[in-house]
Symmetry: C2
Subunit: 205 residues, 2 copies
DNA sequence: GTCTATACACCGATAGAC
DNA sequence: GTCTATCGGTGTATAGAC
């Protein structure tokens, strides 16, 4: 017999079903693309009918919203862990941050589209789902400041440089490295621009 | 009485109808976004029923395809004209090329999404529609080479830098200049990287 | 609360009459 | 070439069984 009151058991079951739904949606998104997710297939995948999903989510966009928040929360956790073991030289550390972001992004193209591009026509993330992504930016800002990168414009620039390479790599040559391999060069340009000390990254790679 | 045979008059009328369709689609895309284009509204806008559109285009994606080709053809023409009057110093010339691309892109966000992002889930441009965009890249490559930028990787980098700023500007703050105003700085970084002579662009702006 | 059955409005696309 | 009618698909709403 459980020591938990019924309320908690029900809430637990409810949360488990919500995650089943979100997991099924991710599976379809990874297999056939983000736009291929349909409520009927999500429901069928977990042995339900599509209207039943409305007991757990207000709309299809609410499912995208949960996926958005979940993925940014995951990246936030990954990032915290990764920032604890950055290389010492600032220039190397900035490259490591960028490479970590690249690895996370390239691991799941559908996820990158949801998080970093506006790939779903009618979808705008809610305040709650947006929160962890704001936290990611804040943490990035703090870490970069600690490395000697001050100023919002510099952080904007860093993200624009990374995104510029990532977008083109994933759009034109997913799985390749034509844009990817320019990352050390770009980080070097950035480090020179903002005045980070240290030798060139490209020479050693 | 026309001197043209009937065949040509019919072809002319047919082409006019095709352009009416494409123009209507652009109007909807500019007003409500690229994804908001529906065959029923396009047809209604020119006094037709939606199935009639299939006499002129094989599918909805074929309309997007025509829009894609038309817009790249327009940019190619703009570009040719603009390249005839570039400033003398290579660094200034590269900035002028980027600024021209920015102006074209910012003038129509829906057009930018169609041309430079993969905003329509099931749509891939045909060989024919893709051709003018290939020509644009070729012309850009030739012009940059004439300015001292050699190597495919350098052209890739130039486009990634421009796209990185443009994507974020249009996605996060359309109409603003938070990312836009970093263009001279970025072009300076690029010019330094590829070894273009001349004084910094930022100091003069 | 959770799920099903049914239905609605809209979409892109097709068939066939004129 | 354009029409009407219709098809299979979608997201979504609601009534009601359990």
């Amino acid at each position: 017999m459980s020591v938990l009151p019924n309320r908690d058991r029900q809430a637990e079951r409810r949360e488990a079903t919500r995650r089943e739904i979100v997991d099924a949606a991710w599976e379809i998104a990874r297999r056939d693309g983000l736009a291929a997710v349909t409520l009927r297939e999500v429901a069928a995948m977990i042995g339900m009918r599509s209207p039943s999903l409305y007991s757990h989510f207000d709309s299809k966009n609410a499912i995208y919203d949960a996926m958005f928040g979940q993925a940014w929360t995951l990246y936030l956790a990954d990032m915290r862990e990764h920032h604890a073991r950055l290389p010492e030289p600032p220039r190397e550390a900035v490259l490591a941050i960028a490479e970590h972001f690249f690895a996370f992004s390239l691991a799941d193209a559908a996820r990158y589209q949801l998080l970093n591009q506006h790939a779903i026509p009618g979808f705008t993330p809610s305040e709650a789902a947006y929160a962890p992504s704001v936290e990611v930016i804040g943490l990035l800002q703090d870490t970069l400041r600690g490395l000697g990168v001050t100023g919002t414009a510099d952080v904007d620039l860093f993200l624009a440089l990374c995104g510029g390479l990532l977008d083109r790599q994933l759009a034109n040559e997913p799985g390749g490295d034509r844009w990817l391999r320019q990352l050390p060069r770009v980080i070097d340009m950035f480090a020179d621009e903002v005045g980070l000390p240290g030798p060139s990254l490209r020479s050693s790679r």
